[in-house]
């Protein structure tokens, strides 16, 4: 018997995907903020990729200055509420909290951050305004964490900004790729609307950049172009039977889940291939959609999983079973997926070796490949002179984010190869400042 019944109504969906970091009420925020020690040179700030002055905003919450708290957060990171909810705070700010040194519960920084920013979002009270116009125009490709952060920063510096987004909604993976129990669509989109209302950039939705002509239009119409394109679809496994119905990529599965909620189909027996955070998410989500049996299969040992420990714990907590040192050989079935043939593996000298003769079949009716997102090489090759490193990441100046095509700048997953929302938000802000310097000084 599965732990979760398949949700048939939105309230049931919300229950199955209950928020991991629910919104604090004012009393809870008051109590939690009271615990903050106000450390000197606080480790939480040091471990925040966007460098938010955490003790300051917590102190502002504690003294009833919610607007000031929100401002402190947004000054460092435009994805304030999003990061409060989706950041792996356990390994970032909360992981660095000195309370851990005493085996005490760290301050719930993420939830406090969301408490303050949601208050600002709900009030609609503007905290920022566009800078005095510079006459410069910037095109931003991608309305994800990098693109929107860059747009906000560029607007605050006075540049006109148009954002071009391939999909229908902003915030990128926040609304398309993050597990629904981390943030709801409404919340993610509310923060985007709040930002846009303050900074006044324009977003063109359903406008994918598909060819050289599309880019030339931007190159001719704008003084600089910011690449916030993130990563692409799930990497192909190149296994026999991968094209069978019921074998899907995790990125695509989660996008369907975020957009369709109840219309998302899930198997009764699901095999998730991969050992990263996305694999844990996909497994967890399958269970919450009512799958009776969910197996997470990883080709290395448990200790080598890329997923954070708490992410795997979360999946285990909803009944997901881990299967380690196994590699998929073939997706079995007749039109539709009926099972996965695995072979056992052993890791010697860091290399995965298959164990001959150890093959076995795990029956299932759905396979989710959580084997990483592909780089957008095809698109990036459309940009003249743009160089990528050996891993397909954009090469850019460390300080300004300028790529090897001087008109293009980059930040986020396309630059760092795939990291957290907070990394993209922080990098994009810094890149936007680099762009500003170059736009003002002249190329």
């Amino acid at each position: 018997m599965a732990e979760f019944s398949p949700p048939t109504t939105e309230p049931e969906f919300a229950e199955n995907f209950a928020q991991l970091k629910p919104r604090m009420n004012r009393t809870e925020a008051q109590y939690e903020s009271s615990r903050c020690l106000f450390c000197f040179d606080a480790p939480c700030i040091q471990s925040c990729p966007s460098g938010i002055d955490i003790p300051q905003f917590i102190r502002q919450i504690n003294s009833g200055n919610m607007t000031g708290a929100a401002r402190t957060i947004y000054e460092a990171n435009y994805f304030g509420n999003v990061c409060g909810k989706v950041c792996p705070t356990e390994v970032l700010c909360e992981g660095a909290c000195v309370y851990n040194e005493q085996d005490m519960k760290p301050i719930e920084i993420g939830r406090l951050q969301s408490f303050a920013t949601l208050q600002a979002i709900d009030s609609g009270k503007p905290l920022f305004q566009p800078g005095a116009p510079t006459g410069k125009r910037v095109a931003v490709i991608g309305a994800g964490p990098a693109g929107i952060s860059a747009a906000c920063e560029l607007r605050s510096l006075g540049h006109a900004v148009d954002v071009f987004e391939a999909k229908a909604q902003p915030s990128g993976l926040t609304v398309y790729g993050v597990a629904p129990y981390k943030i709801t669509n409404e919340e993610a989109l509310a923060e985007m609307a709040y930002l846009q209302s303050q900074f006044g950039y324009t977003v063109f939705y359903n406008r994918p950049m598909q060819n050289r002509a599309d880019l030339e239009t931007l190159e001719n119409g704008y003084d600089a172009i910011f690449l916030g394109i993130g990563l692409g679809g799930t990497n192909a496994l190149k296994l026999p039977g991968e094209d069978r119905a019921g074998c899907v990529g995790a990125t695509e599965f989660i996008e369907q889940l975020r957009m369709g909620h109840l219309s998302t189909s899930v198997g009764r027996r699901v095999v998730v291939l991969g050992g990263g955070n996305t694999a844990c998410d996909a497994a967890s989500e399958s269970a919450r959609l009512g799958a009776e049996n969910v197996v997470l299969a990883y080709r290395r040992g448990k200790e080598e999983m890329g997923a954070y420990e708490f992410e795997y714990d979360l999946a285990k907590g909803v009944g997901v079973k881990g299967m380690f040192n196994v590699a998929p050989v073939e997706i079995l079935g007749n039109g539709h997926v009926e099972g996965v043939r695995f072979v056992r593996t052993a890791v010697t000298d860091g290399k995965v070796q298959t164990v001959p003769g150890s093959e076995f079949v795990v029956p299932c009716d759905m396979v989710i490949k959580a084997t990483g997102q592909a780089k957008q090489r095809t698109f990036l090759n459309l940009i003249p002179g743009l160089q990528l490193d050996g891993n397909g990441r954009i090469i850019a100046d460390a300080r300004t984010g300028q790529t090897t095509n001087p008109k293009y700048f980059a930040a986020g997953d396309a630059l760092n190869g795939g990291a957290e929302v907070v990394n993209a938000a922080a990098e994009a802000k810094a890149t936007a400042r680099g762009m500003h310097q170059i736009l003002i000084a002249g190329f």
Binding site: S34, C39, S50, D53, Y99, E101, A398, A426, A430
Partner: protein, 459 residues
């Protein structure tokens, strides 16, 4: 088992825990409930000519997540007819003959005092407490603290009371005065049998930032009230000590002010109180708190070998000295126990900004280091440290030398000129003023997000 019973100036009580005259003692119902819960005595809500109260009567000082660290009220004395109160006093005494019921009184004329003293005693009160302390509402009418602040008036009224009183008379003192021993001495001269202190401190507990009015707000306005609760304990302890140490007061003291657990009660007792009175804590948590107070006191007495309360009364008084009698040769310095340190560095910033720059940070570790030669032994770091016993103040002198300010003065060995060589800080290292600018300043000041990618301000 230690004996918790007391005989306070002739008023007997099964334990030293009394409810102070206040809202919790407004009725026989409350007092019976309190006695049933374990309270040893109760001072009835002040009797007099009944008053009319306002709605919205209390305000609180909250500190961070702690509610009612301080508390104030603008409520007056009993608003119930005297006859009702007297009838209930009789009823309580009948049901609880061994518990102490003390009638708090506040009236104006000699005749009224005589009348109410007789009435209270006839009703069965074990003693009387004269309310010369209330700092709001009644004092404007020439009663309460208006009496407590005028030793001559206080003495005269005590004399009126003593003309007719047959039971022990306690004078309750107001702290709204520069020297608490003056009214205490006046009470003694008037013939009182005991004193109780402190009454509430005149206060404004807070201001509403939107309505521009003080709390508690009555139809957009407010008034000064009387402050009490945990926040006032240090003031109460000092005043209890002053009365207990004064050679001419020599009256039993009922300690009041910030008592909410056994520890607070013991502190009052060690400084000279022989009964204690509680109000705010009972208003906050209910009468049930007395169980913890009784068991805590019993445990403490057992561990210390005290058989009865009298053995404890004033035990700390010999160690409360004038500053000039303290040993200048005593020397402690801070010691950070690195294995306990969690690296918050509150000690560092406190010492840097608030004390003597005697703590440094070293690269590669979050554990700060004490600069022994700069440490004056002020305790600040050990007070701000959030970890139990992580910073201890360790004795550095060998304990053989003793020299006080008084002795140095008598020996002519004290600084007397503005730039005297004998100045205590003369040879103490302090950094150059300009050293304050730069170094870690920017990462330390609040409101400064970490600089990313080594960039400078783009504007």
């Amino acid at each position: 088992m230690p004996d918790l019973s007391i005989n306070f100036a002739g008023i007997k009580s099964p334990n030293p825990f009394w409810l102070a005259s206040a809202p919790p003692t407004n009725s026989g119902y409350q007092i019976m409930k309190a006695f049933d819960a374990g309270w040893g005595g109760a001072v009835w809500k002040t009797l007099g000519v009944p008053v009319v109260n306002v709605s919205s009567r209390y305000g609180a000082t909250n500190y961070r997540d702690k509610r009612m660290v301080g508390f104030n009220n603008i409520e007056l004395i009993s608003d119930r007819p005297l006859a009702d109160n007297l009838r209930e006093i009789s009823e309580v005494k009948k049901r609880f003959p061994n518990h102490a019921v003390i009638a708090s009184l506040m009236v104006e004329s000699r005749a009224q005092w005589h009348e109410i003293v007789r009435a209270a005693e006839d009703a069965g009160a074990d003693g009387l407490e004269l309310n010369f302390g209330c700092p709001h509402g009644m004092c404007e009418r020439g009663m309460g603290s208006a009496v407590g602040q005028e030793p001559a008036v206080l003495q005269r009224i005590v004399e009126w009371v003593m003309e007719v009183a047959k039971t022990p008379v306690i004078v309750k003192l107001t702290p709204n005065i520069s020297d608490i021993t003056e009214p205490a001495l006046a009470a003694r001269r008037g013939g009182a049998n005991a004193i109780s202190l402190i009454n509430t401190i005149q206060s404004i507990v807070g201001v509403d930032l939107d309505l521009f009015a003080p709390y508690p707000i009555v139809d957009g306005k407010g008034s000064n009230g009387g402050y009490c609760g945990p926040a006032v304990k240090p003031i109460a302890l000092n005043m209890v000590k002053n009365c207990a140490q004064h050679p001419d007061v020599r009256l039993p003291i009922s300690g009041i002010g910030g008592i909410e657990n056994w520890r607070d009660a013991v502190e009052h007792i060690l400084l000279g109180a022989s009964s204690v009175q509680v109000c705010t804590a009972a208003m906050h948590f209910g009468f049930g708190i007395v169980r913890e107070m009784i068991t805590g006191l019993e445990q403490y007495m057992t561990e210390k070998g005290f058989q009865n309360i009298d053995q404890m009364v004033g035990r700390a008084l010999p160690n409360v000295k004038h500053w000039e009698d303290l040993n200048l040769k005593y020397k402690v310095t801070a010691n950070i126990h690195a294995e306990k340190c969690i690296g918050c560095q509150l000690c560092y910033t406190a010492c840097e900004d608030g004390a003597h720059q005697a703590i440094r940070l070293n690269a590669g570790t979050r554990v700060p280091e004490i600069i022994d030669e700069n440490c004056v032994g002020c305790n600040l770091c050990s007070l701000v440290c959030p970890v139990e016993d992580c910073i201890t103040m360790d004795r550095r002198d060998d304990g053989t030398q003793h020299l006080t300010w008084k002795e140095r003065t008598e020996a002519g060995d004290v600084p007397t000129e503005f730039n005297d060589e004998k100045a205590g800080g003369r040879h103490h290292w302090v950094p150059e003023p300009s050293a304050a600018l730069g170094k870690e300043r920017h990462k330390t000041l609040p409101g400064k997000a970490r600089v990313l990618r080594g960039e400078t301000n783009p504007n």
